[in-house]
Symmetry: C2
Subunit: 225 residues, 2 copies
DNA sequence: CGGACTTAGTGTAAAAAACACACTAAAGTT
DNA sequence: AACTTTAGTGTGTTTTTTACACTAAGTCCG
């Protein structure tokens, strides 16, 4: 039995961060899950996450855990909500600060293969049973993502540095699950003034090449209208 | 020196909830602050809040603290954000889950007088120096409030059970700090389909009486458009 | 080398929503 | 009865959103 050497005058909860990691691959919205090796919920799928170190900022903690699971850094990461129901973890009182992250499709292969039995990408609406209250967290993350598509430029965070307008429209259609009009969509996207032409084109397949665009400020997510 | 009898294998942060409590009084947006009786920041003004009890849900904790400071229950209360910078409290590592609450003007007198040296209402843009990172929390709460005015019916949570359209408009003008056109505002407010006439009128002063309205579902905050 | 195929790219008209704007109504007071 | 004060209402203009179909530029194949 390990020593319990950190002592307080009154009880303290444990604090973790959990990550809802989204990406778009194969024209589907996908989510990163890990298979738990330990009790409780051993063998269940769960959100990646872990305890906040005592001298570590919570945002840094989320970044660290994201990098541990996916190998990526510097992607879009936002605090979602904090969950603190007393019985959400059967071991002890655990309060979790949930974050969600958007990984560009280009970056996702880095880790997906290495640890395949323990980490995998799941299609958003074909998720397995999840441990703890993670199904609830995922649901709220999806809602936040959908809402932000409407009033921010967050969707561009799924894209590589250079992209075509068709790729942007695909992101919207996949997440919102609805077809959009090509001309109206392009008019709208260009009116944002968040992207600019690179001057290059991409040729692929036997058809007219598409102009490439880039974000004017890749790390900025604008709130629109 | 008190006994430190709660022991863990690894260090645990303390967890608090802090409340940003808004109301509208005297045609101004006001905020509830308490004067700290203890170190650190003894004598400074700060957000009301306190430690999460070990078996208490965090939302319940926020409700409890709100009731302790203001005597009100059942008002609009929403989680804002969680703040966890390692040095935000000089004593020990404290992670705080911030909430914000909207108190209808009718309910605020309940406690404001009882404990006047330790608790007071401040005009939003005449705040004193605040303890910890509370100025930052207040700033984000204000931003959230302003944003929600635009896309939800949250403003009605400031109003008593029955109210006039002029009172609704006043709320918007006070928080957004801009005059609005009376006819357009009323058209918009009625189009929400969130309020209905009570059939009563309110007579005050030597002028035409105003129709009274009520929320169709007083506890519901709709997301609009 | 011309025709077929595929995705990229473009404009206009109609409908809906947002905005600007000024007078009448109904009470109380003198 | 006249005056003061706030409540309450409608219309035309501008802006935004939506609906909708063809041409452009490559590749591939016969």
């Amino acid at each position: 039995m390990p020593a319990k050497k950190y002592c307080y005058e009154y009880p303290h909860p444990a604090v973790t961060t959990d990550m809802v990691v989204f990406t778009i691959r194969d024209q589907e919205l996908k989510l990163l899950l890990i298979k738990r090796k330990l009790q409780p919920f051993k063998g269940s799928w769960a959100l990646p996450g872990g305890f906040v170190a005592i001298a570590e900022d919570i945002h840094q903690c989320a970044e660290r855990e994201l990098e541990e699971e996916t190998g990526v850094r510097g992607v879009y990461l936002e605090q979602l909500c904090t969950y603190g129901h007393p019985e959400r973890d059967p071991r002890e009182r655990v309060i979790t600060i949930a974050y969600y992250a958007l990984i560009p499709s280009e970056k996702i292969k880095i880790r997906a293969a290495t640890d395949a039995t323990a980490v995998d990408w799941f299609v958003m609406d074909e998720l397995p049973e999840l441990a703890f209250d993670h199904a609830n967290i995922v649901e709220q993350a999806k809602q936040r993502l959908v809402a932000k598509l409407d009033y921010s430029t967050i969707a561009f965070q799924f894209l590589p540095r250079e992209f075509t307008l068709t790729e942007v429209q695909d992101i919207y259609e996949i997440i919102l699950e609805e077809k959009m009009d090509k001309r109206n969509f392009r008019k709208w996207a260009l009116a944002l003034e968040s992207i600019e032409e690179t001057g290059e084109e991409r040729r692929e397949g036997r058809h007219r090449p598409a102009k490439l665009y880039r974000l004017i400020d890749p790390s900025r997510v604008d709130i629109i209208k």
